[in-house]
Symmetry: C2
Subunit: 206 residues, 2 copies
DNA sequence: TTTTGGTTTAACCAAATGGTTGAATCGTAT
DNA sequence: ATACGATTCAACCATTTGGTTAAACCAAAA
């Protein structure tokens, strides 16, 4: 019997490599050989650990979704004021995605191909401690006590999500103007501020 | 010689079918047979009209990009006030996409796979009359004459784009809560209003 | 009617793809 | 040392894939 370490390591490497390939090519466009190459292992190993392409895709999806929501949930604790909660949400969300942008790309691919995996997982994992739930709750509170204008909470949540996610999806096009390694980090920081600035002001009572 | 009508018609049908398949599967994930089925023609026709998968993809990309920017440009004429221009931009943009959401999906796929086709085309087609250029110009004017706060025009444009595009990309997930045919149109209309509402208020001087 | 040119099709091909297999390795317990 | 179960790999297989071809089709010109 080989060490538990080795097995976990190989499994992890496959997941990481598969995520990268699925994220840029989609489920159908991804090639098992490409995943194997990216993981630096034999193609047969993919089937040894995950039986089939379908199972591998499902495993990757579950894995990254769990990691992402867990990480994001810890980053976005509930804060006393709505303003602080919103700021934490935006910063935490963007930081999470910045660290692993492939996760968002995978989810976008799932949406593009009409898959329901993401939706059912969101429904399944929806709970009070999830970051979007926290923000929505705070939003409704803030509307009640007049801190912000009466806006549709669902639309507002979607607006924040759009602003935080979209530029990662659109990155290659944006990179034509913003050099990748040099200014990208600075761009992300300025983006955080801009989103909070516009959204929070946009919710203020007139 | 067959009628010009027939040829154009077949070419058009191929483009339409190819757009649909490329949009949901990406370039690598798309299958020539699937495109042929969707167009209701023999697979060999694809090669007869477009030589190869690469050429077909390129043709589809150019075609839809031109149609989209042309349509959007006519919808978003410059208006006297910034507020009106912004409203026209949002409504026009969303209406354009609503009519052919596959165009956005195709562009997203191009970004996900790191392709540069979109970026170079945007640069190539960038001109004064393009809708984003109009909005940006009006934005800078409005900042100068104090109608709105001094914000980064590029970030603001990106924010508007995010809000208008993202929910189409994320549609399958959103559809879990918003039934597809029944309430989707109403949702889009309310989304238009919400985006203008939050963004315009977010840009107001305090 | 026959010819002519573009158009459409079924059948075909080589390469790529997802998946399988049996032998070779490797660490560990006996 | 040796036996054993988990792991890794090269070679292999059946099917699918992008692409080709030669023949059939069809409208209009001759």
């Amino acid at each position: 019997m080989q060490s538990e370490e080795t097995k976990v390591d190989t499994e992890e490497r496959i997941i990481v490599a598969a995520l990268a390939v699925f994220a840029r090519k989609g489920k159908d466009g991804a090639r098992m050989q490409e995943i194997a190459n990216e993981a630096g292992i034999n193609k047969a190993m993919l089937h040894y650990y995950f039986r089939s392409k379908d199972k591998l895709y499902e495993a990757v999806f579950r894995h990254v979704f769990n990691r992402f929501s867990a990480q994001h949930a810890t980053a976005v604790k509930e804060s006393p004021t709505f303003a602080k909660t919103l700021k934490l949400f935006i910063d935490g969300f963007i930081d999470s995605i910045k660290e692993k942008p492939d996760i968002v790309r995978l989810m976008v691919n799932e949406n593009l191909s009409g898959g329901t995996a993401l939706g059912s997982m969101i429904v399944e994992k929806q709970h009070e401690k999830a970051a979007p739930s926290i923000l929505k709750k705070k939003l409704e509170e803030a509307i009640k006590n007049g801190e912000i204008r009466p806006v549709d909470p669902d639309h507002t949540l979607l607006t924040v999500l759009s602003c935080c996610l979209f530029f990662f999806i659109w990155a290659p096009t944006i990179h034509i103007k913003i050099p990748k390694s040099k200014d990208w980090d600075a761009f992300i920081e300025s983006r955080k501020e801009h989103i909070f600035d516009v959204v929070y002001n946009g919710l203020q009572p007139q």
